[in-house]
């Protein structure tokens, strides 16, 4: 009796699914669903690495390898980004020539807000990242922009990330088709193969986290921006999200884009959104 009911139910749901799949509305499949995407993205990693605590994913390769984690923890006692962090704090508090400060450009004076970036600017119709917002703040106050990839930009974002440490990533996608499109665009960039090596971001960070590419352990894509900006031993210095996007493109023999180009902004939007709920861990240190 019960089996019969189950079978009946089963075939009914199958029929429904078949109906749904073939119904014209869904076949168009243009409904962008960030909520579903984020859930699927997170679940993929949670299931692939059941022994990794959810919040540990933000620690990149260190969540994947115990020997490396120990080395990192030893260095975190007195981390290499300490100087950039101090410099960033000082820079942030130093007024521009016109007397205003960065605090005037940001909600809550720029303190403890990093987890809200990037956001979709409905007026502009584009994604605005923290790095972009900082340079716009400078321009609005008559100051020359900083390079997006390191030095001052890294120090400033290090400080701002530090004031948000522990807060959970909290990216919003407004109910605006342009915002949804930006999210989808970022997602598409992330999964598209490019360059001489024909790698997509996913090739390394979704297919092979915890495994080695040459001598490096790959970080999982989940939470991969949460610890930015980072002090990389490889760079012997700090680097921003922009720096990492550019160098990753170069290293996979793809043509790097200009920092803060639309695709990079959208990818940052996508990657940050799907990491919602994971803690901000910046500034970070990496091999």
């Amino acid at each position: 009796m019960r089996t019969r009911a189950a079978l009946l139910l089963g075939s009914l749901s199958a029929a429904l699914v078949a109906f749904a799949l073939t119904s014209p509305r869904v076949v168009a499949a243009d409904k962008i669903d960030p909520v579903a995407d984020a859930k699927a993205f997170q679940n993929f990693f949670f299931q692939k690495f059941p022994n990794v605590k959810h919040e540990d994913f933000v620690n990149g390769p260190y969540s994947m390898n115990a020997d490396m984690k120990r080395q990192w923890q030893e260095k975190e006692e007195f981390p290499p980004y300490e100087f950039a962090l101090d410099a960033g704090k000082e820079m942030f508090a130093t007024p521009f020539k016109n007397g205003k400060t960065y605090a005037d450009c940001f909600p809550n004076g720029g303190i403890g807000i990093r987890q809200d970036y990037p956001y979709f600017d409905t007026k502009e119709g584009k994604v605005v990242t923290l790095e972009l917002a900082l340079n716009r703040c400078r321009a609005a106050n008559g100051e020359a922009p900083y390079s997006y990839v390191k030095d001052e930009m890294a120090s400033l974002t290090a400080y701002m990330a530090f004031t948000s440490r522990g807060k959970l990533m909290d990216i919003e996608i407004p109910d605006d088709p342009r915002a949804l499109e930006a999210f989808e665009n970022g997602k598409r960039y992330f999964y598209t193969r490019r360059g001489q090596m024909n790698f997509s971001c996913a090739s390394c960070h979704v297919q092979s986290p915890g495994e080695r590419i040459r001598a490096e352990i790959l970080a999982p894509a989940l939470g991969i921006l949460n610890a930015m900006p980072i002090y990389r031993s490889e760079w012997s210095g700090m680097g921003t999200i922009s720096r990492r996007f550019v160098t990753c493109n170069s290293q996979t023999r793809a043509v790097p884009l200009e920092p803060q180009s639309d695709e990079y902004r959208d990818v940052e939007y996508f990657l940050s959104y799907v990491a919602n709920g994971l803690p901000i861990a910046g500034p970070g240190a990496r091999p």
């Binding site: 260095k75 006692e77 007195f78 290499p80 300490e82 100087f83 000082e90 012997s236």
Partner: protein, 103 residues
């Protein structure tokens, strides 16, 4: 201008643990710059820690110590509030010094 030396010294009543992180390139003299020229060796040679007038720890460093060098050690005989003096000299004759109170 901020000192190049960052110090954390904490006492548990008996033992004082000291950690220091110093901003210094520690160039080995073996690396070339983008123009192909060797970057000359530039590294801290001696580092000293004094407390209550006594040398408690000293380091002789070569170029194999990492950039922005770090060192940690512990010693007895000091208490919270005591002052720790740290100073270094490098191969170019530069130096820096700072003092920190034991927390």
């Amino acid at each position: 201008m901020a000192s190049s030396i960052r110090v954390r010294a904490t006492s548990n009543g008996d033992i004082t643990e000291v950690q220091a992180l110093i901003q210094h390139p520690m160039d080995t003299g073996l690396v070339k710059n983008p123009a192909g020229e060797l970057i000359p060796a530039h590294y801290i040679q001696q580092l000293k820690f004094e407390c209550n007038g006594k040398d408690v720890f000293a380091a002789d460093w070569g170029t194999a110590v990492s950039k922005d060098p770090y060192v940690k050690f512990s010693f007895k005989g000091a208490k919270k509030g005591d002052e720790l003096k740290i100073s270094w000299t490098d191969n170019k004759g530069a130096s820096d010094t700072t003092t920190a109170k034991i927390a």
